[in-house]
């Protein structure tokens, strides 16, 4: 059972982040068994360490809403100024079946990039491309 921390596999590299930028690419399978709050913790713990987190399948709208809310509660002067988050524009709602909508099942599969607001800057974004500039600490 995978734990909620993103950096277990890289824990034996204490120098990561000092000279470069660490990127955690988290598969949909890894996120699947986590609760909404565990996903948010996984993301924010990584981002607060200065990492870029890439989610293969993104978050649901409800989870995105809670991510914004929790991020706001953690912002503190001269320490953490929040997150930059980018996804491809949402697919048309018409892709979902009536039954999916009725039952509240949401299609959330969309590659999502999240990083510390003071280190990541979006240069360009369209339906097919997200181009970001990541600065070192």
């Amino acid at each position: 059972m995978p734990g909620p921390k993103a950096n277990v596999d890289a824990a034996d590299d204490p120098d990561d982040g000092d000279d470069g930028v660490r990127i955690d690419m988290i598969s949909g399978a890894r996120m699947e068994g986590l609760t909404g709050m565990e996903k948010i913790r996984l993301i924010l713990d990584g981002v607060r360490e200065g990492n870029i987190v890439i989610l293969e399948e993104g978050l649901s709208p409800d989870e995105e809403s809670k991510l914004i809310e929790v991020t706001m509660t953690e912002i503190s002067p001269d320490d953490f100024t929040g997150i930059e988050i980018e996804t491809y524009p949402k697919a048309e709602a018409g892709d979902q079946s009536f039954l999916d909508k009725l039952m509240g099942r949401e299609s959330t599969q969309k590659l999502t990039v999240i990083g510390p607001a003071n280190r990541i800057e979006t240069l360009h974004k369209d339906e097919n491309l997200i181009s970001t500039l990541v600065s070192r600490k």
């Binding site: 809310e69 912002i75 709602a93 009725l102 509240g104 607001a117």
Partner: protein, 213 residues
């Protein structure tokens, strides 16, 4: 278990809507910082009650608490709609107090303002999930609407099945591009207006009655 819970929630939402038909609808005014949300809230409140909702400013995050104006009665085409207007802080994923220092603010004031802003955004997100019956989404038509905050918020609003009216504000300014906003959210109707000048408010009120009545 999950299926039954979802079905029960869906039925509950429908029945709640039926039985609460006479209650004032809580309409949240949402959007990014500096889109003109408070200017719009004040325009609506002044037009129909004579009172304002809160102070307006060009400094981002002037509104740092959700503010409610209750029982605003709007009459349109012989139809009366009663709404509670909830003016919310501009939603963002980042707040840096240093940005306020550019507005002739001392560090202590900037830090306090940023702390209040973060609390306000968190509160606005909570309102959106729990406490509003419909949304007026306000965008500055002179700026690019293809931002992540806009994409996420429209997605959140749609996932809650809330009726949403998109307003392209600041049409009085040079560089206003209403079509760009309409293109960004083609699944929704976009209404142009200048909340500051009061331009096209007739259509806005007609749409409010239509969407939220």
């Amino acid at each position: 278990m999950g299926l039954l819970t979802n079905l029960r929630d869906s039925i509950s939402r429908v029945t709640d809507g039926l039985f609460a038909a006479d209650e004032p609808k809580r309409i949240g005014i949402y959007g990014p910082p500096n889109a003109g949300k408070t200017t719009l809230a004040n325009r609506i409140a002044r037009d129909w009650t004579g009172d304002a909702v809160g102070p307006e400013s060009h400094i981002p995050h002037e509104t740092r608490r959700a503010r409610r104006k209750e029982n605003v009665e709007i009459e349109r085409n012989g139809r009366k709609v009663t709404i509670d207007i909830v003016d919310t802080p501009g939603v963002t994923t980042k707040v840096d107090y240093k940005e306020f220092l550019d507005h002739d603010m001392e560090k202590d004031d900037a830090v306090r303002r940023s702390r209040e802003a973060t609390e306000g955004v968190a509160e606005a997100m909570h309102w959106l999930r729990e406490d509003v019956d419909g949304v007026i989404y306000v965008l500055d038509s002179t700026t690019d609407p293809f931002t992540q905050v806009n994409t996420m918020l429209i997605g959140i609003i749609e996932s809650q099945d809330l009726p949403a009216l998109i307003l392209a504000n600041k049409t009085d300014l040079e560089g206003s591009d209403v079509q760009q906003i309409a293109n960004a959210f083609p699944q929704h109707e976009t209404i142009p207006l200048s909340a500051l000048e009061g331009d096209n408010m007739d259509e806005v009120y007609t749409k409010i009655a239509e969407y939220f009545g």
